[in-house]
């Protein structure tokens, strides 16, 4: 039987230019869980995600991923290949087609033969609703929503145990946001383990198993979405959520 926690983050600290950006973050993520992180800009949300797959190296703390201490691993690229990352600005490789973007990791990291990688990549693209006529387009020829879905396919094709989403819809207009959230919701239903940094509280309400509110490098409040979003205890969280509800005109009765 696999241990239930896929990821354990313990007392994580990160200093940038001498200032603490993360101040002792502790939480864990169970297999199949969707964790949503809310919070204002500059709270450290992106830094936290980047610390988890060591795109940013934390200064103190422990990260246990799938039973292994990530910070002690010398072959960090192997750990990263098991964690997908979806970026706010998609970050597709601009000189490669949609298909090539998805295939690169399979061929170069997973050492899959080309034809097999191609098959796998096409499946991943289909799964996020990117139809065949778009496979050979370059990122600049795709809409934002399409680019983000290709980016999700790129992460998905690697068969990661965990996918980290860093504000995946913040650079999209509302219709395209729907496209992307829809794909993510399906992933959540299929029990993909995900950590999602987002401002989409509607998505959090529907999908999150737990919501964490991050501000100033600390978790101010955590719990089920109904609590953190609708009835937060913390004053700071309450103020933030009131404004969110105003922006999104969410009627709380």
């Amino acid at each position: 039987m696999l241990k239930e926690e896929l990821l354990i983050v313990e007392d994580l600290w990160k200093f940038i230019d001498g200032k603490p950006v993360l101040k002792g973050i502790t939480f864990d993520v169970s297999r199949g869980e969707t964790k949503v992180i809310l919070g204002p800009s500059g709270a450290g949300k992106s830094t936290l995600l980047r610390c988890i797959n060591l795109l940013v190296v934390p200064d103190r703390g422990r990260i246990i991923f799938d039973g292994e201490d990530v910070l002690k691993r010398r072959d960090i690229h192997n750990v990263r290949s098991k964690m997908g990352f979806v970026f706010q600005h998609f970050n597709l490789f601009s000189h490669m087609t949609a298909l090539e973007n998805v295939m690169l990791g399979l061929v170069k990291v997973k050492k899959m033969p080309k034809h097999e990688a191609e098959k796998k990549a096409k499946e991943a693209l289909m799964a996020v609703g990117i139809a065949e006529e778009l496979w050979n387009r370059y990122p600049a020829q795709l809409s934002g929503g399409q680019q983000q879905r290709v980016a999700i396919a790129r992460a998905l094709a690697m068969e990661p145990k965990l996918i980290l989403f860093d504000e995946p819809t913040s650079a999209l207009d509302p219709e395209l946001i729907w496209e992307v959230l829809n794909v993510m919701e399906r992933l959540a239903k299929a029990k993909m383990t995900m950590i999602v940094v987002t401002h989409e509280i509607g998505f959090a309400m529907r999908v999150a198993s737990e919501v964490m509110f991050l501000d100033d490098g600390m978790i101010l409040e955590r719990g089920p979405p109904e609590q953190v979003i609708l009835n937060p205890c913390n004053e700071r969280v309450k103020r933030f959520m009131d404004r969110m509800k105003y922006v999104y005109s969410l009627d709380t009765g």
Partner: protein
């Protein structure tokens, strides 16, 4: 004028072509050295640790900061002092190639550093190693970005290979000078040389334009 031009071309055409051939050899060989060297230096400057970075930086400053002619004389006259004797053409290729490496390094380096870090971060997140990121993400884009400046460098080398004249390499300029002194038709000969240089410079830039078009990423506007 026209008559003299025709006279020179018919009487010395073959000699001129031979000179042109040597000019091409010097240009292509030194460009190849320059590109290979430039690529290595640029990668070292962008990508590797301190010692290599410093070494690459010193190289660039040294070869950019001294005249190419001085470098050529150094290779041709100073190296024999320590027992390395090279013929004029080889000396020119080495000197111009080493010089060009410094410039090409800078062109490639600026192209490498213009690639958005976001793409590199994405590549890391997939689990790619540094080397793979360099090969599959950075270089293919950097070379595309650098093509116009690298073309400039090729045209520049084509023309400045004429300094090989000073160490008696029998390239176009040297041959021209020879014909001019023999026929006393200085103006006509140099006009002819200029025409040849212009013609092939245009050919070079057209080839580059073709390559650039071929490598263009659809929909991508820089």
């Amino acid at each position: 004028m026209i008559n003299e031009l025709l006279y020179v071309s018919s009487k010395y055409g073959l000699l001129l072509l031979e000179g042109l051939r040597t000019t091409f050899i010097i240009t292509i060989a030194s460009y190849a050295i320059g590109f290979a060297g430039g690529l290595c230096i640029a990668i070292a400057r962008v990508f590797f640790h301190k010692i290599l970075k410093v070494f690459a930086g010193v190289y660039v400053e040294l070869f950019r900061g001294t005249p190419m002619l001085v470098q050529l004389f150094f290779v041709y006259y100073a190296l024999p002092e320590i027992g390395i004797r090279v013929d004029p053409v080889t000396a020119s290729i080495i000197a111009i190639g080493l010089n060009s490496a410094a410039y090409q390094a800078e062109y490639i380096r600026s192209a490498l550093s213009s690639i958005p870090y976001s793409e590199i971060e994405a590549a890391y997140s997939l689990g790619l190693t540094k080397l793979n990121i360099l090969i599959y993400i950075m270089l293919p884009q950097a070379i595309r970005i650098a093509i116009p400046t690298l073309t400039n460098e090729a045209i520049y080398l084509f023309k400045y290979s004429s300094i090989a004249y000073f160490v008696t390499a029998s390239e176009l300029m040297y041959v021209g000078k020879l014909i001019a002194t023999r026929t006393f038709l200085y103006v006509e000969v140099y006009v002819l040389l200029a025409l040849l240089y212009i013609l092939f410079s245009i050919v070079l830039s057209e080839i580059a334009r073709y390559i650039e078009g071929k490598l263009q990423i659809p929909g991508y506007v820089t």
